[in-house]
Amino acid sequence: MGTTAVYASDKGFANEWIRRHLRWIAPLAVVAIVAVGTPYVVPIGQMTLAQTVMIDALFAVSVNLLFGRAGVPSFGQAAFFGTGAYTAALLSVHTHQSIVVLVVAAGVAGAAAALCSLVTARSSGLAFSMLTLAIGQLAYTAAQTGGFFGGYNGLSGIPFPQVGSHIFVDTYAVWDYVSVVTGIGLLMLLYIWRSPFGYLLVALREDPHRAAGLGVNTRLIRSVAFTVSGAFAGLAGAAYAYTFQAVSPGNLFWTVSATPVVMLLLGGRNYFWGPAIGALVYHSAIQLASGATSNYNLYIGAVFVVVVIYVPGGILSLGQSGWHALQRRPGSRSTVDPSHTVLTEDSAA
């Protein structure tokens, strides 16, 4: 735009560069600030909770690649979260290099998802949800029955993460490790979300028939999305294994699949950061309510139904509509790019 060029020539090259790359610098800065700043703000007793929020943020954003971007609602992602966690647990005995463990865990989870997508890719809507729920419960049953997986008790005694010869031994060190791993995972997902592939998923969500008519192999694209989502769920699972030093079949139970769905709906499934915000709000709310009740599903379910009916865009959509209302005020300069609005607004729901 002309104004930008004038502005840039006034302030010099560096400013222009920052402007152009702000959409990448800003997320990087946010992730870095969260990773570095959290230990200064959060008391040590709550650091494990902070780690859980980071892991669930990554998990929920990976689920939202399917849910929000591709419009295929999966209720069985715990299968891949659990695959990642169990792979990390089993592998950490053989190699202490935790980066290798993480990559392999994500790869195995992705491969498992690719296999499952052979069955799921031809369905959508309720049928897809039920199939993925079945996949989750299948994995849960398998984890319980196989002696290799430690049966009902699962596997424990996972060593602390290690990179090179450096071992991350205490809570703060594990936070450093987990926040960097999940932060990198989130940025990778952001890249995928904004890539041409990410927009292809939007096309499939909005009108699969037209996308197919334009020559898109819808089944293949859905399979790839399922695989990528599964791989990042596996990464989150592996990070979980390192945080809690133990995994059990409980990590594959249906409630584990349900939690990210609650988070992404709460935060806003049409926004990349929606599920991450949802994870933060969800865990804060549970933490506050834990004195009053131990049975969350009753309240979560009620809130969930109300959100679906009355605030289908989630928390971030409230922020966005407030922002638009401010900008529509007479006398204020509108800078809303209409093409951007079309893509982010909740046109599917």
Partner: protein, 292 residues
């Protein structure tokens, strides 16, 4: 061998009772309901709440089952007003999510009323006695379940195919808008079907209660076999559901008996097999990808 087959058929008929409501509501009326299993769970818990720890008399048990199914149907009707009606105005994804929220709510509600500890329900001692059938002894309760399932199956087929009400339901399922324009009271008929479907879910839960230990998670664990039966039988086909249920029951009994390590996975195996060989199910015309 005969004992395995007879038990398999009885288990299959129990599965049919669980799935019949789903066939009615999802398959025929096209209303996606993630929370169906929660109504099954409510039926089971309601029976346990009405009965003492000691084995009840047959009459008391039958009464408890009937009341449980009725109350489950009423809870379903209430949720139709509060959840399903506002959702009907929204796109399919929203109704999927909304009924998922309902599932969480009902599962949590069950848990806050009855707790998470497993509950056992005693069956009437007269129905516990073994009966001699084809040279093997079968618990009388299995025969009761089998007969109830058969009666429900015939009743459903009769109502849908042979009555005025069934014709209205079929008309609405075929073209809701046109049915409305022709003066059919669409809302009333849809509500009745909804009530009927959840009454059957409650009935299934109530009859299944004495055969298992109740935990709030049955809300989720039993939606999967019910759904598998709709896949195997074909979308909206009652005959298909019966055959699918019996087939799954038989497979399960045979596998549990002869290949115990595969037993727990029967439902998933049958589902995967059906989806890859015949995605529209035994009697269905709609492929799974084209569902609601």
């Amino acid at each position: 061998m005969i004992a395995v087959l007879v038990n398999g058929l009885a288990d299959g008929m129990l599965l049919f009772l669980i799935a019949s409501g789903l066939t009615l509501v999802l398959g025929i009326m096209g209303v996606g309901n993630f929370a169906h299993g929660a109504f099954f769970g409510i039926g089971a818990y309601l029976v346990s709440a009405q009965l003492p720890d000691a084995p009840p008399t047959v009459l008391r048990f039958v009464l408890a089952v009937f009341v449980a199914a009725l109350v489950t149907g009423l809870v379903g009707l209430a949720s139709e007003f509060v959840v399903f009606r506002p959702l009907a105005e929204l796109p399919p994804t929203a109704s999927l999510l909304g009924t998922f929220g309902l599932l969480l709510f009902l599962q949590g509600g069950t848990q806050s009323i009855w707790g998470i500890d497993p509950i056992a329900v005693a069956r009437p001692s007269r129905l516990n006695a073994p009966v001699n059938l084809f040279g093997t002894s079968v618990p009388a309760y299995s025969i009761v379940i089998f007969c109830t399932g058969a009666v429900v199956a015939f009743a459903l087929v009769f109502v849908i195919r042979r009555t005025e009400f069934g014709r209205l339901v079929t008309a609405i399922a075929e073209d809701r808008q046109m049915a409305f324009l022709l003066g059919i009271r669409v809302k009333l008929v849809a509500q009745s079907v909804f009530f009927g479907g959840l009454f059957l879910a409650g009935l299934g839960g109530a009859l299944a209660a004495p055969t298992m230990s109740l935990t709030p998670d049955i809300a989720v664990t039993y939606i999967i076999p019910a759904f598998a039966i709709v896949i195997v039988g074909g979308f909206g086909s009652i005959e298909g559901s019966v055959i699918g249920s019996l087939a799954i029951g038989l497979f399960q009994a045979i596998l549990v008996n002869y290949v115990p390590s595969v037993g727990p996975f029967t439902v998933y195996l049958v589902m995967a097999l059906m989806l890859s060989l015949r995605p529209q199910g035994i009697f269905g015309r709609t492929e799974i990808g084209e569902w609601v």
